[in-house]
């Protein structure tokens, strides 16, 4: 069974090729079968492969192979090879599973779109690229998948190409992430120059032997890799592309945010953890970037009006949590949050899509309200997602993963009280903006007449994802609640465990810590209810204060990063490229001009008068005589 691994990415790629090359001749029904079936088949295959893999686990922690040699010249070798271990299998399961549900949902969401075939072709390519990224056994192939998801995000964000704004958002996404990618590429250059290998496993082994902890080269490589991860995962300072990426169809947002693309940075750092542990300074930077991002994005999410932008900022914020966990060495906690986040964020986006369709493509939450009764399925599933995002205790998956992260930050030697405090404040903000959404959209007076009711292809993914959002947390239950360390045991085959605190007083610390986090989340929900339920008088009092207004505007604009980058990069670029004239060409024009004017002055002497010529001959002769003497 295990040797079928290459078919996991090959199926979506095949779907893409079929849809692109033959798609024009296929009926819509056949298109659906190919588009959804390829990812579904891939998901099924992953599940089938997971069984023997899990059975063989302690003895056979990884399984790798190679299809063919991609590049092998002058000492540089990179194969079309895969490396399946606990980490990549987890990623693969999430990508194909959640990806399949999103595809299924899309059949209904995109049913009336003229670009139906194009949509599924791009989506399949997206899933295929992401699978290549996580299954690659060498960094060059990983980079192929890395750029591939960037490309697909470009294509899908700009999917509705008639609106130039969508094109601008798509270009922004690609160019910003490519800036990070280029740093990543330079990191690969440095890594290859030092270690002469691009194999992920080999590089980490060699680096551990060759580079002392904290050495300059290790720090440089890790910092460059981090720059790539920051770009892809939309962390500060390269987070600006993600809110605009909402220009794409809603299933695309779900795919970008939940299963693919933005989690690539998290995966990269976890995959190359062997390099990052050699650079404690960079690890610290990862944690700080994560904390800063989760707070900045949390504040921004508070004041957005567009339902999808709220969710976008929420994604940035939640990825911030993952970075925070990575930064303190809590690899498994980060991946656990990735898993739960994939479920509830996909759910939230898909439910939001259903809401948007219900109110005639309206995305402004100030023009929604009271949708609770219209479609209970959407309401209850959205509520489940929001609860999981907020980390409501015990019943939601988000609680377990967020709690794990914050406990790791608290207890890890690389963590710290400040980082922890940031995380807790973030938890409060998360609950606040999540329930602001819930109360705005589903409660209060009805502002738009809902028209569309979700069909089966919409309801199934919503219900499945809601169930997952509530239950996947049970794979890892902290020791205070009766330990179930299934997830950390599983991942320990690929990633080192953060040292396990065993002491008794630690346990009471953990319980205290948990209480604080839980209180923060519940406080967020309570404040949201106080502000957004009922008459909303409290909200008006706060909003009318001038300082609050100024902050709200700053947060609404995402802390002004866009304006800053416009001044720093976009304007100078346009200033330089405003004129398409080539400076060197002017130089050659000057040369040509000089020749032409020399020609002119010489022709002036050609008067056509014989006497003038005779005089010049005489003068010339005289001159030569004088010179000779």
């Amino acid at each position: 069974m295990l040797h079928l691994v290459p078919f996991i990415p090959a199926l979506p790629f095949g779907g893409f090729l079929l849809l692109t090359l033959l798609g024009g001749r296929l009926s819509r029904r056949e298109l659906t079968w190919i588009g959804v079936g390829s990812v579904g088949g891939s998901a099924l295959l992953t599940a089938l492969i997971a069984i023997p893999f899990l059975h063989g686990l302690p003895e056979a922690p990884s399984y790798s192979g190679r299809l063919w040699t991609w590049i092998d010249t002058a000492g540089l070798t990179a194969g079309m090879g895969w490396h399946l271990d606990a980490l990549s299998l987890l990623m693969t399961l999430v990508i194909t599973g959640v990806g399949f549900l999103i595809h299924l949902y899309s059949t209904e969401y995109m049913a009336d779109d003229e670009g139906y075939r194009r949509f599924f072709a791009y989506m399949n390519l997206f899933v295929g690229s992401m699978l290549t990224l996580v299954l690659a056994d060498n960094l060059l192939l990983l980079y192929l998948g890395w750029e591939g998801v960037g490309l697909c995000s470009y294509l899908l964000i700009g999917f509705w190409y008639r609106d130039p704004a969508n094109g601008a958002a798509a270009q922004k996404a690609f160019i910003v992430t490519r800036t990070g990618d280029t740093a990543l590429a330079v990191g690969l250059l440095l890594l290859f120059m030092e270690l002469h290998t691009l194999s992920i496993q080999q590089a980490q082994t060699l680096a551990a032997g060759a580079w002392p902890i904290g050495s300059g080269i290790a720090t440089a490589v890790a910092a460059l890799l981090l720059a790539g991860a920051v770009g892809k995962s939309a962390q500060v300072p390269l987070q600006v592309w993600l809110p605009d990426a909402m220009a794409g169809p809603t299933p695309v947002s779900a795919l970008i945010h939940a299963a693919t693309m933005v989690t690539a940075g998290v995966y990269l750092i976890a995959r190359l953890h062997g390099l990052f542990v050699l650079a404690p300074a960079v690890m610290g930077a990862v944690a700080i970037i994560g904390t800063v991002t989760l707070l900045l994005a949390g504040f921004s999410a508070l004041v957005q009006r567009d339902i999808k932008r709220v969710l976008a900022y929420s994604t940035i914020s939640q990825i911030g949590y993952m970075f925070l966990a990575l930064g303190v060495g809590a690899w498994s906690a980060a991946l656990f949050h990735f898993l739960t986040h994939a479920c509830f964020k996909a759910l939230l986006f898909l439910a939001a899509g259903a809401v948007i369709l219900a109110v005639h493509h309206e995305q402004d939450i100030f023009r929604m309200g009271g949708l609770r009764r219209h479609s209970p399925v959407v309401f209850w599933t959205f509520l489940a997602g929001a609860a999981a995002l907020s980390g409501l205790p015990l019943v939601t998956a988000g609680f377990y993963s967020k709690d794990w992260i914050l406990w790791s930050v608290w207890s890890s030697p690389q963590g710290g009280r400040w980082l922890w405090a940031g995380g807790v404040l973030g938890a409060f903000l998360t609950a606040l903006y999540s329930f602001r959404l819930v109360f705005r959209v589903f409660f209060g007076p009805r502002r738009a007449e809902p028209a569309w009711t979700p069909g089966r292809a919409t309801r199934i993914p919503l219900v499945v994802l809601a169930a997952l959002s509530l239950t996947v947390g049970l794979f890892e239950i902290p020791s205070t609640l009766g330990p179930v360390p299934l997830f950390s045991m599983y991942l320990s085959h690929a990633l080192p465990l953060l040292h396990e605190p065993a002491a008794e007083d630690e346990s009471s610390h953990e319980a205290a810590q948990q209480t604080v986090v839980t209180m923060a989340s519940l406080a967020g929900v309570a404040v949201a209810a106080w502000m957004f339920l009922g008459r909303r008088r409290a909200l008006e009092t706060v909003a009318s204060h001038p300082i609050a207004g100024a902050f709200a505007r700053l947060w609404f604009d995402g802390w002004g990063f866009d304006r800053l980058y416009a001044r720093l990069f976009v304007w100078p670029w346009h200033a330089v490229t405003r004129e398409g004239t080539d400076g060197f060409d002017l130089l050659y024009d000057r040369l040509a001009g000089a020749v032409r004017s020399a020609h002119y002055w010489l022709t002036v002497t050609q008067t056509g008068q014989v006497r003038w010529y005779a005089a010049s001959v005489a003068l010339g002769a005289l001159l030569m005589l004088v010179l000779a003497l």
């Binding site: 022709t603 002036v604 050609q606 008067t607 056509g608 008068q609 014989v610 006497r611 005779a614 005089a615 005489a618």
Partner: protein
């Protein structure tokens, strides 16, 4: 003796040059050129007698023959000019201007 002859040759040459530059009538210009050629011939002969070498007189004959050839070509051009432009004014004919 040689010095005198050379001075005469120089005067003749300058006269010829002045005539060439001053006159606009092509006939006079041709005459001036002849004078200049003769000045050169005189200088050659003087130099030949000074060094007691026959080369000076050889050069004189050479210039004589050359002057005859030049005059025949020049007169032919002159005829053509006066025929086409109805003038013998050199300045009026500047067809070869750039």
């Amino acid at each position: 003796m040689t010095a005198h002859a050379l001075i005469v040759a120089m005067i003749l040459f300058v006269l010829g040059l002045a005539g060439l530059l001053a006159r606009r009538n092509i006939v006079y210009m041709l005459l001036s050129i002849e004078i200049m050629l003769n000045a050169a011939s005189l200088a050659f002969i003087a130099a030949g007698s000074r060094w007691a070498a026959p080369d000076g007189q050889v050069m004189f004959f050479f210039i004589l023959a050359f002057a005859a050839a030049e005059a025949s070509v020049a007169l032919a051009i002159l005829l053509q000019l006066s025929d086409r432009f109805r003038t013998v004014d050199a300045d009026a004919v500047s067809e070869m201007r750039h």
